[in-house]
Subunit: 477 residues, 2 copies
C-alpha cells in the first residue's frame, strides 16, 4: 500500500493502473524547431486520438503546434502525466515543478544519465528520483519512450499502430518497444499496453510485470530486457507472473561485450548469462534470441495450440526442403517420425504418383499438387500417435511451378491450394505452422502470407525460426 | 582421357564443356496432358531461347506443342542432349535408343530409383549406367533437373532467370538448384552454369567441380550437397578446386534423421558431420547452413572484400540494435572494439548531440541523422587500426522517424541519407555490409534494399545472417 496525495490510499495495481488513463498530458520541452523531439510525442498523442487536454511547456517561447504554457504551474486543472524532453541539465527544475503541480507520472525521454557511465549522470538520476519519491510523483525513465495504450489515445511515436491486442510489453529499450509494436501489428498480432522504461530510476520492469500479471486486459507478458539494478526482485516478479500468464522474454547483452554495450545503452547491470537463463527457466518463460524471434514467439503464442510432444509431420513441395527441415527439427529437439500404418494406408489412396510413396517429410508436389480435396489426406494425422504438430513448407518457386506451362493462373491456383491446405489442417486438428520461404516475387509472397495469417495459422520465413518458436512453445517444463 | 565416338579423344574438361552447348535437344516423354513434366522442360528451353532444333518424343502419340517423333532414331541430324521424363519402367529402352542414336548426354528427370531405397531401383540404375557407359553416353541423374546455361538457351524451368553471372553451381537437389538460381537473380548476383545432378549414376558432383575449377567462365563454385557415393574422390576434387577458386558449400542431411531424409531424397550416403566439416575446412570452403545462408554467402562474396581481421564498427540508429549486434558479433568471433583516439577526435566534431558521445556501436540517430555530409564522419575508420569492417544497421521504423512531425518526406530523406552513407563508407574504404531489418512497409523496404545493392553493398535481413556471412568470408584459415 502506498499513500498518494491527501486522502487516497492505492495498492500497487491501482497505482500503476491509473497511469494508463491520464486526464491531461503536458509535453515539456516542446518547441517549433525542426527535429524537436517533443513534436514527436505531441503528434503521437494527437494521432492516437488522446481525448483530454494536451499542452506544450516551453519556458522561453510560445509554441505553435499546441496550446502552451511557460511552466507546468500555469496550466489550470489536473495534469496527470507529463512527457519530458528537455536536456538533462534542466530536468531537476521540471521535476520540482511537476511535484508542486501534483502530476502523477513523468515519462522522461531525456538521456545523459547513468547510461553514460559518468558519476555526474548517476547522481543527477538519484537526485530527481529522491525529489519525485518525496513528492508522490512516479517516474518512468529517464532515457525511455514511456507509455503506449491506444484505447486511451496514449502513444510515443506518430506512426505507432492503433490496433490493440492482449499481449502487454515491458521494454528497457525504446527502440525495441517500437520495433516490436510495429512488427506485431504488421503481422496481425498487435500488442496491448506497452511501457518503455529505460534507466528505471523509479518505476521498474518488475513494477509493470506485477501489474500486468493482474491486469484483466493482459493475457500474456512480453519483455525486452538488457539488465536490472535489482535482480532478486525482478526474478521474483517474473516467476510470480509466469504462474499466472505466459511470459515471452528477449534479453539484450547476453555476451560480455554485449553486456558492456547494454550498460552504455541503459545503464543496466546485465549479470551473467547463466543466472538469466536459470531465472527465465524458473519463470517458465519462452526465450527469444532477437526481436524477430520475439515477434515469432508472440505470433506462435496467439495462432497455435501447444503441441503435446515433439513428433512433427513435415509437408513440403520440394524434397530438398524436407531434408533441411528434418535437420533443423532434430537440432531443436523434434523428430520427423514415420507415419503410423493407419496414416500411411489412408494417405496411400491419394499419394500414388509414379515413383513416390507415403513418407515423412511428405512431398506434396509430386503427390497431391492436383488433388482437389486435402481433407482426407491430412485428417488421418489427427489420430496418428507419432505426430504432435504439422509443419508446412511452401515457397513461390514451387507452388508457381505450373507457371508458363498450363492453362492455370498460378495466383488463383495457389490461393485454391492454400484453402485446401487450411481445410485439411483443420480436419487434422493438430497444432500447425507454415514456413513460407522468402525468395522471389516478394509482393505476391506477402499476399499469400497474409492469407495464411488471416486463416489463423502462424507463418515464418525460415524453418529455423519456425522450429525455434515451436521449441519455446513446447518447452521442457 | 576418354575416347568418344570414332575419332575424337577428349579430356575431362572438353567432354563436360561441350555438354553445355548441344546442337539439338529432345524431350523424351513429352505429351499434351495437363501436368506432363516434359512440357515444363520444353517451355523452359523455348523461354530461354534455345536456338537449335527441339523435338518431343512420344511413342504413343503426336505432340502439339513441339515437332515430335515416336523414337529418337526418327529424328534426323545430330541430337546431342536429351531430357528424359518417362516413368522409370520405360527408361531402359530410352537409354538404348539414345546410345544407338549417338546422343552425348541424357539428363534424367525420372525418379523411382536408388532414392526409393529398394533393390529394384538400385539395380535398374546400375543397369542403365552400364548401358550408357558402354555406348559413350553420359548420364545426369536420375531424379534431377539437369543443366541451366542461359547463354546457350539451356534451362530446366520456364521461370528461370536469363541473367547470367560468374558463380557456377552443382546441386544434388533440383529444388535447391532452382531456389538458389531464383534467389540469386532476385538479389542481383545471378549464378552462371548450374547443374542439378540427383542420384549420380554416371556424372558426379566431382566431375562438375573439376570442370568448374578450370572453366574460364566460372569465378566461384557453389555446391548444394546431401551426400556422395565416393567421398575420397569428391573431397579431393573440392580441395583441388578450392585452391583455384572460392568454394561456397551448403550441406543437407547434417543430423542423423536429416541424413535418413537425404537418403530417401537422392539415395546418397551422407556420412558423418565431422568428416564433412573436416573436408570443407580442408577445401577452404565457406559453409552455409541453409539456402538463405548460401545466397547470403554468394552475395557477400560478390559485393564485399574480405575483412583483414575481426574488429567491427557498428553504425546504428537504435541503441538497442547496437546491443544485439554486439552480442551476435561476439558469438561469431568478432569484436566491437573502441575506436582509436584519432577516430574519436575526428568524429567528435560531428557527434555532439546533447548526452551522446563517440562510441562503438555508434548511434547515428542521435548523432548524425541530420548531418549533411557523412564523408568526414566515416573516413577516419579507414585509418583506425581497431576496425576491419563496417556493419550498418537500418530499419524503416528508425529512418522514418521523421514521419509525421516535420516538413521532410521520409522516402526522399531516406534515399538522401543512404547516399550520404554510401559516400561515407566508400571514403572509409573498408569492407562494409548492411543489415536492413524486416519489419514494416515491406514494399518500401525492398526499394531501399535494392538501392543498397545497386550501390554495390551486400545487405542482409538480420544481424545473425550478416555475421554468419562475414564469419565465413573471413574464415579461420
Amino acid at each position: 500500500m502506498r499513500k498518494v496525495g491527501k486522502n487516497q490510499v492505492l495498492d500497487h495495481f491501482q497505482e500503476i493502473d491509473r497511469l494508463w488513463r491520464p486526464r491531461a498530458i503536458a509535453v515539456v520541452g516542446l518547441s517549433d524547431k525542426l527535429g524537436n523531439m517533443g513534436q514527436m510525442f505531441a503528434i503521437a498523442l494527437k494521432n492516437q486520438g488522446f481525448k483530454g487536454p494536451l499542452v506544450g511547456v516551453n519556458p522561453g517561447a510560445e509554441v505553435k503546434s499546441l496550446p502552451s504554457v511557460r511552466r507546468l504551474q500555469e496550466f489550470e486543472g489536473p495534469l496527470d502525466h507529463i512527457i519530458i524532453c528537455v536536456p538533462a541539465r534542466e530536468i531537476e527544475g521540471v521535476i520540482r515543478d511537476a511535484v508542486e503541480k501534483g502530476v502523477r507520472c513523468a515519462a522522461m525521454f531525456t538521456s545523459g544519465f547513468s547510461e553514460e557511465g559518468h558519476e555526474e549522470g548517476r547522481r543527477l538520476e538519484e537526485r530527481i528520483a529522491a525529489i519525485a519519491r518525496e513528492g508522490g510523483l512516479r517516474l518512468i525513465g529517464p532515457n525511455c519512450m514511456g507509455l503506449h495504450y491506444p484505447p486511451r489515445g496514449l502513444s510515443f511515436r506518430p506512426d505507432m499502430p492503433a490496433a490493440w491486442g492482449r499481449a502487454a510489453m515491458t521494454s528497457q529499450s525504446g527502440g525495441m518497444a517500437l520495433s516490436t509494436l510495429m512488427n506485431c501489428a504488421e503481422r496481425g498480432v498487435p500488442l496491448g499496453k506497452v511501457v518503455s522504461y529505460g534507466n528505471e530510476c523509479d518505476l521498474t520492469a518488475q513494477d509493470f510485470i506485477r501489474y500486468f500479471a493482474d491486469d484483466p486486459e493482459t493475457d500474456r507478458i512480453v519483455m525486452y530486457i538488457e539488465g536490472t539494478k535489482n535482480g532478486p526482485e525482478l526474478i521474483q516478479a517474473m516467476i510470480a507472473a509466469g504462474r499466472k500468464k505466459p511470459l515471452i522474454v528477449c534479453k539484450g547483452g547476453r555476451t560480455s561485450v554485449g553486456t558492456r554495450a547494454a550498460a552504455s545503452h541503459t545503464g543496466a547491470l546485465a549479470g551473467s548469462r547463466e543466472i538469466w537463463q536459470a531465472a527465465f527457466r524458473q519463470a517458465g518463460a519462452r526465450v527469444a534470441g532477437s526481436i524477430d524471434e520475439l515477434v515469432d514467439l508472440i505470433e506462435a503464442e496467439e495462432r497455435m495450440e501447444k503441441p503435446q510432444g515433439r513428433g512433427l509431420a513435415v509437408l513440403t513441395i520440394s524434397g530438398g526442403f524436407g531434408v533441411f527441415a528434418t535437420d533443423v527439427a532434430a537440432e531443436h529437439g523434434f523428430s520427423v517420425p514415420q507415419f503410423s500404418d493407419a496414416t500411411r494406408t489412408a494417405m496411400a489412396k491419394f499419394i500414388n504418383f509414379p515413383g513416390t510413396s507415403v513418407k515423412n517429410p511428405l512431398d506434396m508436389a509430386a503427390a497431391i499438387f492436383f488433388q482437389g480435396d486435402h481433407v482426407p489426406i491430412y485428417a488421418p494425422l489427427g489420430q496418428d500417435p507419432n505426430i504432435d504438430a504439422v509443419l508446412v513448407l511452401l515457397s513461390i518457386e514451387y507452388i508457381h511451378l505450373i507457371e508458363g506451362f498450363g492453362p492455370l493462373d498460378p495466383v488463383s491456383f495457389t490461393k485454391w491450394f492454400l484453402e485446401q491446405m487450411f481445410k485439411g489442417l483443420r480436419a487434422a486438428g493438430k497444432p500447425a505452422a507454415f514456413v513460407f520461404f522468402e525468395s522471389v516475387k516478394q509482393a505476391q509472397r506477402l499476399e499469400y502470407v497474409k492469407l495464411i495469417r488471416d486463416s489463423g495459422f502462424p507463418v515464418f520465413p525460415t524453418v529455423e525460426r519456425a522450429m525455434k518458436a515451436l521449441a519455446e512453445k513446447v518447452g521442457n517444463r
